[in-house]
Amino acid sequence: MKTIIIDDEQLARELIKNYLSEYSSIEVMHECSDGFQGLKAIQELKPDLVFLDVQMPKLTGFEMLELLENPPVIIFTTAYNEYAIKAFEMNAVDYLLKPFSRERFSKAIEKAKEKTGAKENNSAHVKEFVQKLVSEERTERIVVKTGTKIHVIPVDTLHYIEAQDDYVMLYTKEGKFLKQQTMKHYEATLDNKTFVRIHRSYIVNVHEVMRIEPYEKDSYQVVLKSGVKLPVSRSGYALLKRELEF
């Protein structure tokens, strides 16, 4: 079994390597100290198992997983013991709370070995789990991939979001980015004081709104600072009215 260790602390990586030295069947292919490197290594080396820290520079472990189409078996190693743990358990992805014992570590390895057998299932599990985790937290930045490039978009630079079938289009000053995600997700996790669902197909950043004007009879549209005009539904108008207090 081939594995990669991703953690920004050298001592943490060494501990895992040391614990792994007892397992002749597991080979450590690579070590990475941030999410970008980790992403690259996973795509190139295609390991069976990854040890992944959550808090790392540039890209967190969760954000990195979100970008992977076919995630390998993941064992999280983290110092966080908040709500995340419950989600881990429910979705049968293993996690190790730092610091962890050799016994606990070997249990995780056993689980991982079982998982690699039924890998198809696991991918779906991991995806589902990451979705769930990400949706419990307030979105502060959005990570998207275009070709080989990774863009980290701070949410306050977003102008608006447009629904496109199974995807959403994120419009920013730098351009537009396609992301596999639902409107419902962003409606739930973006700060609803700033981001308002004005229409079935649109969520707008209220700081970008220049004016709201009547459009045909009984309906409205918003005009953004960039000049873009977006339709406003009846319920969207009520939400805007509440957030902007007019």
């Binding site: 602390e9 060494e14 040391n18 100290s33 110092a79 730092k98 610091p99 962890f100 307030r138 980290v152």
Partner: protein, 346 residues
Amino acid sequence: MRNPFLKNIIFYIAAWSTVAVVDIVILSRYYNLSLSLAIADSLVYNLLYANIAMNFWYPVKYLNLEKQKPFVVLMVHVIAALIVISLWLIAGNFIMNWIAEENEAYKTFALSAFLGRAVSGMLYYFIIVLIYYLYIYYFSFREKLTREADLRTLVKETELSLLRSQLNPHFIFNSLNSISSLTITNPAKAQDMLVKLSSYLRFALEHNKNSLISFEKELENSLLYLEIEKVRFGEKLIFEKEISTETMYMQVPNMILQPLLENAIKHGVYESQEPVVIHLSASKENNFLCIHISNNFEKYVVSKKGRGIGLRNVQERLLLIYNKKDLMKTTVNGSVFEVELFIPQQ
């Protein structure tokens, strides 16, 4: 605050109606006035008084008992009462003369009742003013109670968030994990780190919330914190210090440096792949201890969260302890973040 009688106008009307009825009974029974005259007299005088008395609210509201001498307040009220009662009697007399016209019996009565009326007018004045004062005191007392409760909650919250930031679980568990790793590869270093972590935690737990300690002690503890982080991050964390010796015995609030260093590490080291230089300097300027901390950070990195909580905590504490604003200054200079503290000395 609004006139309480305006808010409870029904009660006010009821009270005056009672007085009016009692007056009618007295006038017709003891002064032997005809019922119609008794009713007219009672209505005129009481209605007039009820209207004038509404305005007693203003001297009460604007003449603060706490700010003015009691004698002044008393004099103002006596003079106000005399003026009000004179006006009341003149107006009442004028209207009653017009109603009763040439009724001799009423005229005799009015003359004999003059003194009694003046005394009762005075009495009414002071009763009403007293009610107003009671109302104001009851009201401000209740307000004070809620304000005190609010303040207590605020202090508790600040304390709690302070404690949480000092005993950052993320820091503790990651340090313990590093120690766990070192026990295998380098037991001596593991022991050293464990001792450092313990000393740091003891200091953080023992500290009394707003007590002052010497800068030397505070510095010692902050260096412990930095050394622990240094073990975790190795070459990625570079620490430089420039401390003038005369600052060593100066007084600082307990645990005031650590949140700033933690902030530098969180936004510098945690989010960076390149080495981060944390520079700490301290000097004496006039009657202040000036502490300067700077760190470089990766500019394009979008930090996830937690920005400013540690800094705000420090600012709130300084305000609470020294009751002075502008004791903390932060600046961003390209990719260098700087924070300055000005700690007043006795």
